[in-house]
Symmetry: C2
């Protein structure tokens, strides 16, 4: 039975929690899987760090805690440095290369790290605030944890009215960047 | 050590998940506690039901699942009927009396159920969409799970820019309704 653990991390204001909710809803409401989405708040959240987790499974999710993610999104350096070591052996880290320099050995990077200029692409669209949606597009293209069609539906169901076109373009920018990055790997 | 389990329930479009995030952030970022906030999506979420859970504790939260809530918010009848039986023996149910008729024996109701016209108050403010914020004010006044000051800060940090005054009034309406209801108990 498939069980995929995703951790999204960055800082307050980057829309990490909304990204987690959208990913869970893409998986559960539109792709028909089960999902649990959670955020744990402790001292680090008072310091401005933001983290959201999503577990996607075909069956029941009895244990709702992420221990070692299959997929990690790191939207800033602190998040990368903190969570990269927790990745599963065959996991994938998506980094926002606008903000993050991947550490680790070259072989670790080659097998685990996929990077795109997520925040830069959002700035190109004129609204840095959509970096979370760019990130979801990139992550979905690289990992296939949800279908693109379901992700787009989930995004459009959650973003403010009047911003649908901007968010659709943000998602597409993330997908395109992932495809461009894949052709370089 | 204090551990309080809160379940917020209703239907899609009532802002249940945002209410859960705000409650967790009030507890953790502003009141200095630890909190875990989660939503589980399964077949019922595809049917339109919405549920969010918050655990608030002074210490570490090792087990992040709500089994028997101390506090239940029921924003529609289906949610009340489904979750009221799961309440802890000394728990409190907050119902939106605009939408919900409390079941159970009169003694169960007297000891457990606190009701206010949450959606009706939101309509009076001209925006039914703020019913979730009215509900948080009511729930906070009745249960004291977070401080009013922290709750207001958390609300204002999460609602869209330009809606701060509306949401401040929604919160105040919830508090006032709880005080009025308490004087009748």
């Amino acid at each position: 039975m498939r069980r995929t653990e995703v951790r999204l991390s960055g800082e307050g204001g980057q829309g990490i929690i909304l990204a987690g909710i959208i990913l869970a809803e893409a998986a559960a409401i539109y792709d028909g899987a089960n999902a649990v989405q959670s955020q744990s708040y402790g001292p680090e959240s008072r310091g401005g760090a933001s983290k959201a987790e999503v577990i996607i499974a075909d069956g029941e999710i009895d244990y709702p805690k992420v221990e070692r993610p299959d997929v990690l999104l790191a939207m800033n350096q602190e998040a990368y440095d903190k969570y990269a070591p927790s990745l599963k052996d065959d996991g994938i880290i998506v980094i926002d290369s606008t903000n993050v320099t991947a550490g680790g050995t070259p072989s670790f990077q080659a097998s685990h790290v996929r990077g795109g200029p997520i925040t830069g692409l959002a700035r190109d669209l004129g609204r840095e605030i959509v970096a979370n949606i760019v990130a979801l597009g990139f992550l979905c293209a690289v990992t296939g944890v949800v279908s693109r069609e379901s992700l787009e539906k989930a995004v459009l169901a959650r973003v403010p009215k009047g911003t649908e076109d901007l968010n659709r373009r943000a998602l597409a920018a993330g997908f395109s960047a992932a495809q461009a990055e894949a052709s370089r790997v």
